[in-house]
Symmetry: none
Subunit: 245 residues, 4 copies
DNA sequence: AATGAATGAGTGTTCATTCAT
DNA sequence: AATGAATGAACACTCATTCAT
C-alpha cells in the first residue's frame, strides 16, 4: 500500500475542510443562498483554494451527493444483515437520516432539493441510486418471508417508505432541528410499518424470491460501485428459499 | 354592491396576471431561482408594473401564502363536514394537495421551502396556520369518536399526517408530476390511516372532547380570519358529546 | 414614417455612446485588455446599462463588425462608380482604411484580430464579406477593360491588395498612428498598382466579363444585405461589353 | 569547451520545452489568451517550474522576442551574401517568415501584436531591430547598384516591404495556414518587387553608398549583438564602390 | 396605470504568482 | 531542479430596484 506524502495528506484534509464547511453553510442558509465566500470563510481557505478543488458550486454539490451514495454502497452489507423486516427497515431509515443529516442539525439532503435547475432532477433524485436498491432488496426479502404485505411491488412500497422518511427529514429541517429526529422516527416509523405487515398473499411478477430492481442508466462515477452493489443485493435475493406460503 | 370602474377592473386583472405568472415560474424553476424578469415576461407586463403592485419579491410571496391560507379558512366549513374520520382526513389531504398544486404540476408549497431566509421559517411553516387548525380539529373529533387511536395528542398525529402528505407532495413535485398524485394518495393514505385507527384507549389531557389547538401569535393580515376559524372549530369541538368509551 | 419618442431617441443615443466608447477603449488598450469597466467609464453609463444593451463583450464586438460591413454595403454604389481601375482601387483602399480607423488613431480592425477565440476567424475575416465582394467586382471590371493584368483571378488579386492594405493598417496602428496613413497609402499604393497593370493577356475562366465572386454561406444578419449587394455587383458585371482584346 | 553536467543539460532542455510549448500555445489561442496553465500543460511541467525559469509571462515574451532577433543576427552574413537585389529581398522575406512561423502554422509574430500593453510597442515593433537593419542594408546596396528605384529612402522602402510581408504573414495566420505561404510569397513578392525596380535616378542624402540605418537606443540584452551586426552591415556598405549612374 | 431605461451593489469565477516541501 | 497547494486581486456578469416619462 502506497504511503501518502504529507502534501497529499494535507490536500485531502483541505478538500474535506471545504466539504464540511459547505455542509455547515448549506445547513445554515440553504444551498441556494450560500455564497462561495461563506464557504471559504467557514473553511478558512481562500477563494482560489475552493476553485482549486471544485470546478464550481454545482460541482461541489454533485460531489457531496456522490459521497452520500458511496456511503450507502460502503455500508450495504451491514444494512442488509439478517433481522426482522421491520427492524431492518427501521435501521435503514435511521441510517438514511443520519447520512442526510450529518451536519449541524439541518438537512443536507433537503438542501439538494433547493439546488440549481442546472442540476437535473434525474441527478438529484434518481430512482436508481444505491440507497433505493438497498431498500428494495430489504423489502423483497421481507415480502418473501411473509413479514411484509404482498399487495404492492417492492418498488412502490419503497417509494411509500421514502416519502414518509423524506417528509420527516424535511419537516425536521424546516423547524431547524427543533426536536429529536431519531427519537421521533423510532416512535412513528413503527406505526407506518405496522400497516405494511398485514400479509395478504398477493401474487404477481414482482413479489417473492428473485426480485431485483431493474438495471438503469447510471452516471459515470457510480457505474462500477453500483455494479458491485447489485451483486451484493443479488446475493441476498438468491439466498432466499421458496417463498413463504 | 359597488360598481367597479374599468380602471379598477383592469387593475385587479393585472395583479392576478402577475400572481398567476409567479406561480407558473415558481413551479418551473423554483422560487429561489425565479427572477422578477421571469415573472414579468410570463405575465406580459413591464418591470415597472410589477413594482406598482408589489413592494418586492418577498411581498409577493407573503401575499401568495396568504391566499393559500385564506382558501383554507374559506373552505373550513366544508372540510369539517360530518363523515368518517378516515374519509375526512382523506378529503383534507386531497384539498391540501390541490391547494398546494394549483399550478402546472409543481409544488408551490415546496417552493416556499426554497424561499429567502429573509422570510423566517416561522412565517412559512407555522404550526398555527389555518390548515393545521382544521386538521387538529378533525383528529380531535376522530379520537373522541374512537375512530382514531388515542395514544398520541392530536397535534402530534397531525404532524405525522402532514409529514406523510408533504413527503408525497414533494416527491411528486420532484418528479415533475410524473404520476397521478390524487390516485396514489387515494391508495396509500388509507394504509397509513389504517395504522392510526387501532383504538387503544389511552388517557391524557389532550384526548377526548374539548381539545382545541392553543392560540398562538398570528401575523396581522391573518388575525381576524383566524379568529373566525377558531370559532368554527370550537363549534365542532363543542358539538361533541361524551367521549366514546 | 413613425415618429420616435424621446425615450426611444435617448435609448439609441445611449447605445451609440457605448459603441463609441468601446471603440475609443479598444483603440487605447486593445480589445483583449479593454475592461467592461473601462467602457462604461468612458461612456459615462453604469455597468448595468452596458448589459442592458449588449449580451456581453463579444456581442458588442460582433455588432461593431456588422456596422463596418453595413457601411460597405451602404456605400457600394459610390465605390463602384465609374473611373480608371487604379483610381477605383485607391478610392476603395482609402474607404476601407477610413472605415477601419474611424476612431482616435488606432485600428478598430486590428483589434478585431485580437478578439477572443470564441469568435471564430470565419466570422472575423471571412472571404465573403461585403468589402471583398466590392473589391473583386472592381478588379473584374479592371481586368475586362484591360487596365489590370489578367494573369491572376480577381479573387487572388483582391487578396494581394488586401494583404497590402492590411499590412498598412496594422503597421500604422502598431505605431499608434505615428504617421499620416492616408498620405502614405496615396504614395505607396500606386507603386503596388503599377505592378498590377502590365496587361499581359491571359485567358481563363475567371477573367473577363461575367465574373462574380461565388456565393457563400452568410450569417443571418447579413443575408438580405449581401443579396442586395450581389445584385448591384451583378449589374456592374453585366454592364461590361466584350472583353478588351 | 566546458562539459555540462546532467543537471545543466536537463535544465536547458526544460527551458526549451517551455519555450516551445509557449509558441505552440500562442499559435493556438493567441498570446493574450494563453494562460500559464496552458503552457505548463503543453510542456508537461508544473507551474512552479515555469516560474523557476521565467520571472513572469512578459519575461517569457521578451525572451522569445530576443531569440527571434538573435537568429537574425546569427544569420546576417548569409542573408547579406551577394546576389541580385530581388533575389536577396526574396531570400530575406522567406527567412523572416520562417522565423516568424516556426510553430504549428500560426504566426508567432502576429501574436506579439496581441501582447500586453505593459510591453510597449517600442519593445515589440522597434525600427531598430536586427531584421530591419539587415533589410535596410540590402536595399541600400540594391539602390546603389541601380537595381532598385531610388526615389525613396531605404528606410521607407524597407517599411513598404515589411508591410507587404506582414500583411501576408497575418493573413496566412488568420486563415490558420490554409495555403502554402512560401509558394504564394514566391509568386506575389516579385510582383511587388517589379514595381520597386524602375530605376529613376533620384538624388538625396539617403541614397547611394554609405547609408546605414542610424543608431538607436537599444535594450540591454541586444546591445552587444547589435553592435556586431552594425559592423557587419557597415562592412557591406563600405564595400560598395561609386554609385551606379 | 404602465413603461423600460438606468442603476450599482453583490457574486461567481479566473488566473498570475508565491512558497513550503 | 521540480512540485502543486494556496493565495487574493481583478474581472465579467446578474438582477432587484428606482424613477422619469
Amino acid at each position: 500500500m502506497k504511503r501518502l506524502t504529507n502534501r497529499q495528506l494535507q490536500s485531502i484534509h483541505t478538500r474535506k475542510r471545504i466539504e464540511d464547511a459547505a455542509n455547515v453553510c448549506f445547513a445554515r442558509k440553504g444551498m441556494a443562498y450560500t455564497l462561495i465566500s461563506d464557504i471559504v470563510q467557514e473553511a478558512n481557505v481562500s477563494v482560489g483554494t475552493f476553485y482549486h478543488y471544485f470546478k464550481n458550486k454545482d460541482d461541489l454539490l454533485i460531489r457531496q451527493y456522490e459521497s452520500f451514495d458511496m456511503e450507502f454502497a460502503d455500508r450495504a452489507q451491514e444494512l442488509l444483515e439478517d433481522g426482522g423486516a421491520a427492524e431492518c427497515l427501521l435501521r435503514f431509515a435511521r441510517f438514511f437520516s443520519r447520512a442526510s443529516f450529518k451536519q449541524e442539525g439541518r438537512a443536507a439532503n433537503l438542501e439538494y432539493l433547493k439546488a440549481r435547475p442546472s442540476i437535473t432532477l434525474e441527478e438529484l433524485w434518481p430512482r436508481n441510486r444505491p440507497y433505493f436498491l438497498v431498500l428494495c432488496t430489504l423489502i423483497a426479502r421481507g415480502q418473501h418471508s411473509g413479514q411484509l404485505r404482498r399487495d404492492m411491488p417492492p418498488e412502490e412500497m419503497a417509494e411509500l417508505i421514502m416519502m414518509f422518511t423524506r417528509g420527516y427529514n424535511i419537516d425536521w429541517a424546516a423547524t431547524d432541528g427543533a426536536y429529536d429526529l431519531r427519537a421521533r422516527m423510532d416512535r412513528h416509523l413503527p406505526i407506518l410499518l405496522g400497516s405494511l405487515t398485514d400479509g395478504q398473499t398477493h401474487d404477481g411478477p414482482h413479489r417473492g424470491a428473485g426480485y431485483l430492481l431493474p438495471e438503469q442508466k447510471v452516471a459515470e462515477p457510480y457505474r462500477e460501485r453500483v455494479r458491485q452493489l447489485r451483486m451484493i443485493c443479488q446475493g441476498v435475493i438468491d439466498g432466499l428459499g421458496a417463498p413463504a406460503p
